[in-house]
């Protein structure tokens, strides 16, 4: 979602004539393909929900089951993104500031959740956290059940969101000038002070961007969650699953209403992330 950052550069006025041919052709192709694949289908979805009428729409999206599923989707995504923000900051720090055997492999493996199909992640996590699984068997005596509970949803969302914070924070840390930290130390700052007053302010925009990216990704996630969640209505049923359930019961209008709520929130998140990235970019530029 680096769109804004890129586009800001692109929009800089460049008063020169077009020498390179093919403008009409490439713009036309881009617009037609974009419209056919993305814009028209999405617009049709909004139109379909309009068929429902405003009262019925409100009735659908405020029904207890829908509200519970939206709460779970957004709540679990928030918790998972928080976990990923803390853990991602640690991993990014270690990858940038420390050299250890196998560092390059570890660096590459961070991207595993981007490459591993979500269904595979879903069944693997379920196998691990089921009461007889490798991790579940350890947690069971403690009275902690992960699989088939909302906690399982969080575990799956942590997995799929793991790379985002690492990848947004890592480049900022790489550019962080260590002399500033040293200067703070020679001036008598405590380690905690240096972290809070020197490191964190620089990393903060990137950390927030990574958090938002992980959150946005988690909200719409389906494949990795449905295996581990147990999918009990009102308890561990996420909103995307409820859309699928409504579709399977041929309740198209209701499925569309839930989808529209999620789409609106997702687009708002996307714009917020674009703004965040612009801010992070400017901050990083100022520090360098």
């Amino acid at each position: 979602m680096a769109a804004l950052a890129t586009s800001q550069v692109l929009d800089a006025p460049l008063p020169r004539r077009r020498v390179i041919p093919g403008f009409g052709l490439t713009l036309g192709y881009t617009l037609v393909y974009l419209s056919l694949i993305v814009l028209i289908p999405l617009a049709a979805t909004f139109l379909k929900s309009a068929e429902l009428g405003w009262d019925r729409f409100l009735e659908v999206v405020t029904s207890p089951r829908v509200v519970a599923s939206l709460q779970l989707s957004f709540g679990a995504s928030f918790v998972a993104a928080l976990v990923n923000a803390a853990a991602g900051l640690l991993v990014a720090w270690v990858l940038v500031r420390h050299d250890f055997p196998g560092r390059r492999i570890v660096d590459a493996i961070v991207d595993l959740p981007f490459a591993l199909p979500t269904a595979v992640a879903g069944i693997a996590l379920t196998a691990l956290y089921a009461p007889n699984g490798w991790i579940g068997a350890w947690l069971a005596p403690l009275g902690v059940q992960v699989a088939y509970t909302p906690l399982g949803v969080v575990v799956a969302l942590v997995f799929i969101g793991l790379p985002f914070v690492v990848r947004t924070v890592q480049p900022v840390l790489e550019n962080l000038d260590r002399e500033v930290e040293q200067a703070a130390a020679t001036l008598g700052a405590q380690p905690a002070q240096i972290f809070l007053r020197v490191v964190l302010p620089v990393v903060w925009p990137a950390l927030l961007t990574g958090f938002a990216l992980a959150f946005a990704r988690a909200v719409g996630e389906y494949g990795s969650v449905i295996f581990i969640a147990g999918n009990m209505p009102l308890v561990s049923e996420i909103a995307p699953l409820l859309i699928v359930t409504k579709l399977e019961q041929y309740e198209y209008a209701e499925a569309t209403a839930i989808a529209v709520v999620m789409l609106v929130i997702s687009f708002a998140l996307m714009l917020a992330i674009n703004a965040l990235q612009g801010w992070a970019q400017r901050r990083a530029g100022g520090v360098r």
Partner: protein
């Protein structure tokens, strides 16, 4: 957090009285040169333990479960006719969807980086749009368009054309979810490369197509490969969008990820993990190829934070 903080200062300890003549600390990168402090070791251990539990363990679990009943059961699960059909369908869908988005990616990136026009930033945001949409909704939009109760459903039904619960729907849903991959990889790359080389070629008399083939294409080769790699991994592994449009008809509309789901829900875990292990290997190959490409072209690394 305080652990991180104490590490921030670890290299500074020598600044204590009596060690003021120590060489500049910024130059010291390696852990071997750090002083006694236990903090760095602790941090590295903590980070590695986290990644081990959160990432590596699930990956190991896939292969452990796949081979839980031995090699024969594994081979049997993969040579099952339904599994073979799922593998073939997945390859077919990727073979259609990836080239479509490859062509689009190149054209869109060319359009956005070689010309200036109003609304360009909006266009770039729109290209990114599919990444903001839940996979389930990516499938739903096509059901609403082409399904039996959709806008075009009756018209298609009259002409005996089936898109939903058939292969065309799966291809469409896959194209949607992998839509931005190539474009968003190429746009920053081509932006950084500018237009001078193309303009020079043109002024020397090359045609537009020659300029693209001989000047632009060689420049973006690695970025293109990078985008295709990510696009392909997602195309073969997509689950949510495809699940909505496929109808799960075995031997007809079952891709590999959907086959994994069916087997798993039938309590045939070994077979499910066997098919899943193929997808996991695809993921590992993708990661290795990606690292190799990044080693050759470090500028590709910049965009990876935003991939999803």
């Amino acid at each position: 957090m305080s652990a991180v903080a104490s590490d921030a200062v670890a290299p500074l300890e020598p600044a204590a009285p009596g060690e003021k003549d120590a060489p500049p600390q910024a130059a010291r990168g390696g852990p071997g040169r750090r002083r006694r402090s236990a903090a760095p070791v602790m941090l590295v251990t903590l980070a590695l333990a986290w990644l081990g539990v959160a990432l590596v363990l699930p990956l190991v679990a896939v292969f452990a479960q796949a081979f839980a009943k031995g090699w024969d059961a594994y081979a049997a699960a993969l040579t099952d006719p339904m599994a073979l059909h799922a593998i073939r369908l997945t390859l077919t869908v990727a073979a259609i969807a990836v080239p479509l988005n490859l062509v689009f990616g190149v054209v869109a990136a060319w359009c956005v980086t070689k010309y200036d026009f109003p609304g360009k930033s909006a266009l770039i945001t729109l290209i990114d749009l599919p990444f903001a949409v839940s996979p389930v909704i990516s499938g739903l939009v096509y059901v609403l368009l082409f399904g039996a109760q959709g806008w075009l459903g009756p018209w298609l039904l009259d002409r005996d054309v089936q898109i939903i619960f058939a292969v065309p729907g799966i291809v469409l849903a896959t194209v949607f979810v992998t839509f931005p991959f190539v474009a968003r990889e190429l746009i920053p790359l081509m932006q950084a490369q500018g237009r001078d080389e193309e303009e020079t070629a043109l002024s020397l008399g090359a045609s537009g197509w020659q300029t693209f083939r001989r000047v632009t294409l060689p420049n973006i080769r690695l970025g293109l490969l990078y985008g295709v790699l990510l696009c392909n991994a997602r195309a073969m592994g997509e689950f949510g969008a495809v699940a909505v449009v496929s109808g799960h008809i075995r031997g007809l509309t079952n891709t590999m990820p959907l086959h994994v789901e069916i087997l798993y829900n039938e309590y045939n875990a070994t077979a499910a993990f066997a098919v899943a292990s193929l997808l996991a290997m695809l993921a590992l190959v993708t990661l290795v190829a990606r690292s190799w490409l990044e080693a050759r072209a470090p500028e590709l690394r910049g965009e990876r934070a935003a991939q999803s």
